[in-house]
Symmetry: C2
Subunit: 170 residues, 2 copies
Amino acid sequence: MPDAAPLEPEQLTAYFALMEVGSLLQHAVDQQLREEGGLSYIQFQILAVIGESTEGRQRMTDVADRLVHSRSGLTYQVAQLAEAGLVAKAPSPDDERSVIVSLTEQGRALLGRVMSGHIQVVQRLLLAPLSSEDVAQLGDVLGRVRQHMRAVPPRSAAPRRKRGGPTGRE
Amino acid sequence: MPDAAPLEPEQLTAYFALMEVGSLLQHAVDQQLREEGGLSYIQFQILAVIGESTEGRQRMTDVADRLVHSRSGLTYQVAQLAEAGLVAKAPSPDDERSVIVSLTEQGRALLGRVMSGHIQVVQRLLLAPLSSEDVAQLGDVLGRVRQHMRAVPPRSAAPRRKRGGPTGRE
DNA sequence: CATCCGTGCTTCGAATTCGAAGCACATGGC
DNA sequence: GCCATGTGCTTCGAATTCGAAGCACGGATG
């Protein structure tokens, strides 16, 4: 286990700021969503992912892949949302194992009702102090990082890939 | 509650990328810390905050203020760390209400032992795809956002600006 | 069609989270 | 000194989290 060189001050600054801003923003958004819609951030994200899809319906797995969340946690939250009447679960006709989740009228209405406040929080906390160049740069840089993170294997085991890309990392 | 204009695509990109990168990085770091040191990310942060301080000791409140975490959660985690022998709690001589938390030898040793791997994860996932200009910009932009977020009141502290009201607080 | 493995989802238990309420000490006004 | 109010931390209950294990279906193989 070789020692790693300590991070440069700029690197530390960027790292800490990233984590702190992410946490603070998440807390703020979570609070707004709870107050205006009784939703947690995760629940909002689930509704948003389903709502975004052209059909207003998604498989559980597809939702999970879009969010940074465990599968079991998703099961739990979708159950909560279903109990609240915001989404409906139905078996997929194509694949009996799959569960298709779709927005109900209520779910779509609630999503619409909280969206505006959500955007306002993001505007007020994240975007307000930034120029449009700042925003563009931020999106560019973090977009690259995201792509990198999604591609890099979790540190020893390459993710189980469908055949086609043996990645040479074994 | 007026509608807010929807976000520009660049704004959405930046917002989503920020949240996703933060989440992914946190998960990755958490996993490394668990494997190499049996620590959660929060626990590591607590140790790091205490260790950073010149004296190697801090009041609970000061630690909480540096981290995005509830006080009760901090109590719980410090209790865990104390049970593991990594920190020690002692009443403050100045103020009987305060609790001073300090690193034990073990705590300092463990912090040193996992730090290298921690840095490596950050390097590999976050910093690897970035130039030093990128890093500097990221730190600059997010630093500004952080400052802004810490300064802006949580949304109820700056309540109604109804006409006639004593708005001297702004 | 019998079998085996991979995939999709759920269940389970243990750990962790939060806010609200509570306890103990500190500080200021009288 | 004595109370009111504020601050620092803990306790409490309820909700949420995760990974591991389990269940059920799909597709390939023979």
